[in-house]
Amino acid sequence: MQDYSGVWILAEQRHGTVQTISYELLTRGRALADTLGVPLAAVILGPTDDAGLDELIRRGADRVIIADAPELAEFLPEPYTRTMAHLVKTHQPEIIIAGATSSGRTLMPLLAITCHAGLTADCTGLDIEDETGNLLQTRPAIGGNIMATIKSPAHRPQMATVRPKSTRPAPADPARTGALIRETIDPELLKSRVKRLGFTPADADAANIQEAEVVVAGGRGLKKGDNFGLINALAALLGGAVGASRDAVDRGWIGYPHQVGLSGKTVSPKLYLCAGVSGSIQHLAGIKTSENIIAVNSNPEAQIFQVANYGIVGDLFEVLPLLIDKIKAKQAATAATV
């Protein structure tokens, strides 16, 4: 176990471009590495543009380990797992953290079995235990009702996936320098029994809900699917994306990619504005890191008001149209003065 040292974050690229989750992981990884007094490495699989690799250094990595075989261009479980297992064996990091993304949540359990390591899913907090230097991994459990802290005292590496948007991306420091280490991977490891035949992009709106600065969401209080028109209109005015509670998704009013919450997406926008959403613990699990939460609900007891910075107890069918009118008026007035 003593042979294992150093912190790794598993950076992600899509179509050659480094994804934001990588920078969020650098925030986490930097803090852990500094507490332990060890180097922080970002590992990235697949061909990635050079500017992206440098950015990983500027945002906190001491080293970037790159396996840029073309077979790794897109996520495929077997080549990714075998490559990672090979890298882990060669470099022996004590901690590996990855994004709780569709690829991270697939790769990490495969790797954990292969390396006989403990793995904690979907963490919202990571820390180092004082006396032992063990990784303390905190995550919501039982439908978000409790927070559990977990460790893997007797196994290395210690592995965790981290909820996207549960922390801010690390800022870039242009003065930072670090090493780029390119690894050659044995072609045997790159074989795959899964073939990627194609890709259909989701509608842009659903795809960017996690990246959006503003999310306007609706729930069962909208009464029927057509009334999402109000939510869409408000989102368009504020330049935001559209979210929904599970109840609204289950009723077929809007697609699953828009679902916010424990079994949907975590969002962390500057503004989360929702109407007709009760604020179940599972829904709150997906919005807690939002900077501002605004709620409209006819029930003064609705739980959503416990987390709202500003709330209106009222009928959304009165509040939203008026709000839309007033924002339009304001925007028109501002446009007129410039």
Binding site: P109, A112, L136, T149, Q282, K330
Partner: protein, 265 residues
């Protein structure tokens, strides 16, 4: 086509009450159900078996009570069930759970496909499905949202990712984990229930699956829970009532002012 469907029995957690003093779940009056996300795996399995013939075996590791979940799945149409139940399995994390399930799948004989739910609503890790694939050294596709085609040696599936859907061809035998878009679960039928009651339900322990005792239960689990606490989510927000038109007007004006303050209008 022989299909194995690992399912978990979970507490019905949509209105779980927590004891504010101890931070533990109040278990009284909680009903146990099939993990809701496993219903999509069950449905997809039954549909495939109806088309291609063969068997659908639901497999659950849990206390004796988990037999209820298996019988319910059989009432929906699964042909067989296996209960993995042994004190030695208690306290298993995802590493040890996927090991035990993989051993049981091996023991059960030839199969073409394992279908798991995306995640269990209690453990909520989504790690057991890929874990099973790793133990059995099988190809895996996670977050499967649609079965496109069942080919002789492979399956073509659609997989839900952050920015869209991937189309993948996966060699059989393989493991899939499915999301709720994958199928529309049917309800158990009366005839199904009768048949399920009559079907024999084998119960296997650690010995029956040739498991390495060191890899089971709490002892075999790399992870340890060290602390539990109840999160408090409260912001002292400004909550207005819009009971009459004047209040409505004022509340909305202040809302616009709030948006202005944070530079959004």
């Amino acid at each position: 086509m022989n299909i194995i469907i690992p399912i978990k029995q979970v507490p019905e957690t949509s209105n779980v009450k927590m004891d504010p003093e101890t931070g533990t779940m109040i278990r009284e009056g909680l009903v146990s159900i099939i993990n809701p996300l496993d219903l999509f795996a069950i449905e997809l399995g039954i549909v495939l078996q109806e088309e291609a013939g063969g068997s659908t075996t639901v497999l659950s590791m849990g206390p004796p009570k988990a037999a209820e979940a298996l019988r319910e799945a059989m009432a929906m149409g699964c042909t067989d069930g296996i209960l993995l139940s042994d004190r030695k399995f208690a306290g298993s994390d995802t590493w040890a759970t996927s090991y035990a399930l993989a051993q049981a799948i091996r023991k059960n004989g030839d199969f073409d496909l394992v279908i798991c739910g995306e995640r269990a609503t209690d453990g909520d890790t989504g790690q057991v499905g890929p874990g099973i694939a790793a133990w059995l050294d099988l190809p895996v596709a996670t977050y499967v949202s649609r079965l496109v085609e069942n080919r002789p040696g492979s399956l073509v599936v659609e997989r839900l990712v952050e920015d869209g859907y991937e189309t993948l061809e996966v060699e059989k035998p393989c493991v899939l984990t499915v999301v709720k878009e994958a199928a529309y679960p049917r309800l158990p039928t009366l005839r199904g229930k009768q048949r399920a009651r009559k079907t024999e339900l084998p119960v296997w322990g650690a010995v029956d699956i040739d498991a390495d005792p060191a890899a089971l239960g709490l002892k075999g689990s790399p992870t340890r829970v060290v602390k539990i606490n109840t999160p408090k989510v409260t912001r002292s927000g400004d909550i207005r009532t819009a009971g009459d038109p004047a209040e409505l007007e004022a509340a909305v004006d202040d809302l616009v002012a709030y948006l202005e303050k944070i530079d959004l209008v």
